[in-house]
Symmetry: C2
Subunit: 390 residues, 2 copies
């Protein structure tokens, strides 16, 4: 098991802050304001599952050149004391008439001002975690400041992982790998997808997972129709392929990979598709080198899939970034190419249509290194494991 301590040292947050300051200077922003669990955690280390309650907004201001400030509900004051912030302003939330908005406005108006530009999480692959009406009011009432999109800047900061982040993702991958190994001998015909999911969740925690925010369990005769809705009450039968895709976390960092299991000896068609996907995964891993692009990654996988006479399924991409979230930029697609750089953590996720409306999907996690891809997952076996005979 990867040897990595819980909690990052202050140096990790200092480094993030220093890079944020440089990017803010480049983009002429006086501050960032973040509202979401992952961005608040990225800048301050604050971790909680209380984000599940939608009642109260939370704000962290990262001023250009200064330490982060928290503008948060009273209930979070004590929990924030250990976070990487040098000021905590609180209000007695919930306070429906003014849930932190006038306090946030006052804090923003008190910032040292150069450009008057404040970056919020307004763009791609982000949502603002506060009522839009409050944001509309804030941007209309605030004096002398303009609110602009900081999501490209924030994603840029989060794109290349530190060694500590990579170690946390590797550990999440090892935990899920151990849990898959524990699960395999327990799989049996007659189990429902729900039973399998419950068993697998127990094993994931027994193997060390902190949380399992994402778990997809799907199955069907020889393949499956889709990969995001499930588990269901469907019962596994001989001839089925079981698909399990897991996003488990350790210290906030995700793994995101899948495994396929054949209930009884798979058909020749399934074996052929399996070999194509295993080879496409190899091609994706081999293509993941600094200087190559996400479009190259896509092409390496797609070429293998098409060379074997298959179409890709309608999942829209063949992999993506991962880290504090299950999926992060970039996306491996034919367009919008992103140049790979060392320390990007990526999924390699080829899929194919084995028959109209029926698919198979493989997935591994890697980190891009100077010499090429380093696997974070334990590579899936070339032949689909046969289970459930017992």
């Amino acid at each position: 098991m990867t040897d990595v301590a819980r909690g990052f040292p202050k140096a990790e947050y200092e480094d993030r802050l220093e890079r944020a300051h440089a990017a803010m200077t480049r983009d002429d922003l006086d501050a960032l304001v973040v509202t979401t669990p992952q961005n608040v955690r990225y800048f301050t280390g604050f971790a909680s599952t209380f984000w599940e309650s939608p009642t109260r907004p939370w704000f962290v201001i990262v001023p250009r050149g200064g330490m982060p400030w928290a503008v948060i509900p009273d209930i979070g004051a004590d929990g924030f004391r250990a976070a990487f912030v040098d000021d905590i302003a609180t209000w007695p939330a919930p306070q429906p008439d003014d849930d932190g908005i006038s306090l946030l406005q006052a804090q923003l108006e008190a910032l040292p001002r150069t450009s008057g530009r404040i970056g919020f999480e307004l763009g791609r692959e982000m949502s603002l975690r506060m009522p839009v009406l409050d944001f509309d009011q804030l941007r209309s009432d605030v004096r002398g400041l303009s609110f602009v999109d900081a999501s490209p800047l924030i994603w840029e900061l989060r794109l290349e992982k530190s060694e500590r982040e990579i170690a946390a993702i590797r550990r999440a991958c090892e935990i899920a790998g151990d849990a898959f190994e524990a699960l395999e001998p327990t799989l049996a015909v007659g189990q429902s997808e729900h039973e399998i999911a419950r068993t697998f969740r127990q094993m994931l925690h027994a193997c060390g997972a902190d949380q399992v925010p994402f778990l997809s369990v799907c199955s069907g005769a020889g393949s499956y129709r889709q990969i995001i809705v499930g588990p269901s009450e469907r019962t596994l039968e001989t001839g089925d392929v079981l698909f399990i895709d897991v996003g488990a976390t350790w210290e906030g960092y995700f793994c995101d990979f899948d495994r396929n299991f054949a209930f009884g000896t798979p058909s020749a068609a399934v074996m052929r598709a399996q070999e194509t996907l295993w080879q496409a995964t190899e091609a994706g891993i081999a293509a993941a080198r600094p200087g190559a692009t996400t479009a190259d990654l896509f092409a390496a996988m797609a070429e293998r899939i098409e060379a074997d006479g298959f179409d890709s399924p309608s999942t829209g991409r063949l992999g993506h970034g991962l880290g504090l979230q299950l999926t992060e930029p970039p996306s491996h697609m034919p367009d919008h190419p992103v140049v790979l750089r060392p320390n990007m953590v990526l999924t390699i996720e080829p899929g194919l249509e084995i028959a109209p409306g029926r698919m198979l999907v493989h997935e591994e996690n890697i980190v891009v290194r100077d010499g090429g891809a380093e696997l974070l997952t334990r590579r899936a076996p070339r032949e689909m494991p046969v289970v459930g005979a017992g």
Copy 2:
């Protein structure tokens, strides 16, 4: 265990839709647009953990007088076929230049038009799950429609639960109750909060939980400083009180209640605070009758806490609604009173400051019935369980 089938019958969604249509007619809205996991599930039954991926927005339009329509990424098309929608429009997401926005705009512009008012999730205790820039563009480009806040309307629909929803919440409460009973004899001095959390998560799934989105584990000598950050690496010692607050789900519905455990015989001060909170919980349960308000509930608990010479901690309220989310309106506070009605599901959550900056908190879940509160949780024992002596 509560006997309740997975998945709600079509009649459940027909009833929700009928009530939505009536509220939309009253508020003169031509449609609702929902973007969040819980509201999409509420109107359509669509359930997935793929919401963890922030990459793609999803939209469901509920037209006044018509069935819901889905406007979703290709990857969701098959999974949505079993949902309560009569039309599914898809686009090949991710498509960063236009991730569903022109498609959503076209669908909205094609709606039968009366008022031209479209309700979105813009207000209290809601966030829009899409980039704000996309929402800004949509409301600027759309022809002849105005976007207004539908969050009060949606919360009103979700406030009183159906018997099927209540059964699902009761089951979640039973599962967590069983898991607490399994956990208690395993608790021992020397365990870390993290170890306890991992053990408890395994037990929750063994007892039947689908997911455990919220789990707070905190501890300290005789009390704790806060209730939302934890588990940590802290190791339990004799004299500690361990606090565990759990939001586990069954079929999408949450329980949300806590339990306290004393490591060794508690001090007289802890015993006294425990008795006050147990009595305050009794008072809260007794006050939860149709016609009473959330302010009455608050007062019933606060009076008991203050009569015993304690202050309430800075958690901002003494309970709230629950259902598809860990916390939902209303909030039990002195102001903004909401009149209780049958079938509201509530937490009763009194807390007190046992010493400056140190708190104890109790919590049970109830459903308001004509005759008064019906407990959904197994009532916590009057005396704090003593554990860890082993």
